[in-house]
Homo-oligomer: 244 residues x 2
């Protein structure tokens, strides 16, 4: 069978996350229905990541097997005409039969956006987490270096998923400021359940002065979830890119 790789952008606001489930509409389920309308086949779309309810993606990668004769690069337009406007296929490509969007992933970049203002915003409110009060950006920036590298991130993982190992490598973590928006960029070989959101929650504690930059070292060493900060809401999180 042919193997088609999709590059996908979605606004996760109205979805119960990526992965198909009975509770509600998911991104995976919605795209599978769209593909069926195009090829007539019941495909299983293999996703690179199980994004949670409300999380967005600008560069999600998935693949599916098909017997359709549609040229690889034409699936894009064909599927887009069958999708709601909060999901778009940015690119489609025929790849080797062995390609697997999840197993072959070498890493991912996520961003998380915080709106730091007295009053929340109406415009774009689905894309940032509103935080009041003074946040010390320099302290947060100084803290990033403690996350970078290969560590056991057990303290930065929510319950609810089983993994062989909680060791991950973060190759980049930095912060960019644009007016009252604080944007966190994080790249790693893989992320534990809620790991990005807990790292951001912990950085915000440093920014507010309830933790010191050096505390991160102890939190990582202690491997205790209670040591880390809150899991910030899904809406600020965007899966930007998946690397192969």
């Amino acid at each position: 069978m042919r193997n088609i790789k999709l590059l996908i952008e979605y606004d996760g606001t109205n979805y119960f996350g990526w992965q198909k489930q009975k509770l509600g509409t998911t991104v995976q389920g919605t795209i599978e229905i769209a593909i069926k309308k195009v090829t007539g086949e019941d495909v299983k779309l293999i996703g690179s990541s199980r994004t949670d309810s409300g999380v967005h993606a600008r560069g999600y990668v998935a693949n599916f097997k098909t017997n359709s004769s549609i040229p690889g690069n034409r699936f894009k337009e064909a599927i887009n005409t069958k999708l709601p406007d909060d999901i778009v296929i940015l690119n489609s490509l025929e790849v080797m039969e062995e390609f697997h969007a999840r197993y072959n992933s070498k890493g991912k970049t996520y961003t998380y956006t915080v709106l730091n203002s007295e009053i929340p915003s109406a415009i774009g409110r689905s894309y940032s987490y509103h935080v009041r009060g003074k946040i010390n950006i320099e302290k947060m920036t100084e803290t990033c270096k403690y996350f970078i590298g290969t560590h056991d991130f057990k303290a930065f993982k929510s319950d609810g998923s089983s993994v062989k190992t909680t060791i991950r490598t973060i190759s980049d973590l930095h912060i960019e400021i644009n007016k009252n928006k604080i944007k966190f960029f994080i790249t790693g070989d893989g992320f534990l359940y809620n790991m990005v959101r807990i790292i951001v929650g912990t950085l915000l504690q440093v920014g507010r002065g309830t933790k010191l930059p050096i505390d991160i070292k102890t939190i990582i060493d202690n491997q205790d979830r209670k040591g880390a900060g809150m899991c910030v809401p899904a809406l600020g999180l965007v899966l930007e890119e998946v690397f192969y």
Copy 2:
């Protein structure tokens, strides 16, 4: 009675525009209900502009009369707790009894955002108008000067509103580019019905080469709506600021 001035941000996606009407939920109607929950009064909110269905605002100004004893700057928090999250009061202030949000307005700045890309965007899709194909930015920029100044803008007005005069003064019109976003900034003493959206539609014709910059002079002179371009969709339009 006391007179309270509000600075308002709203995402117009889910509203039938600013002005109260029977067909559906409006921004004015929604805020009036929120004020009633705060003061117990049936107030009439005077708006600075009748924004259309789907148009957004970052700096809308309105005022209302009240007998409430709430300090002027406290209305903000009080009303916000009663509003849905697509409308926020950014500021509230007690002003002179004579102040009238519409009559006293000396001018307004609007922006209009075009997403120029092959594929539309899912994230932020409510805030820009998607346009495919090559658009010549230099030609559009060159064209702006023909709009600036005091002109009869009869050709740039949709039917459906009666005005004493169609003469308006545009003090600024310029374009900024950010990646694949084209953002039009327009400031004037007032705008006719759909005027900003028709000006942007006409500029896009120049950008696509179906009109020349110099044609704008003729279109203005001829005062014929058919000479100008299409009225681009509401979703790209934001009322940024109202001047007094």
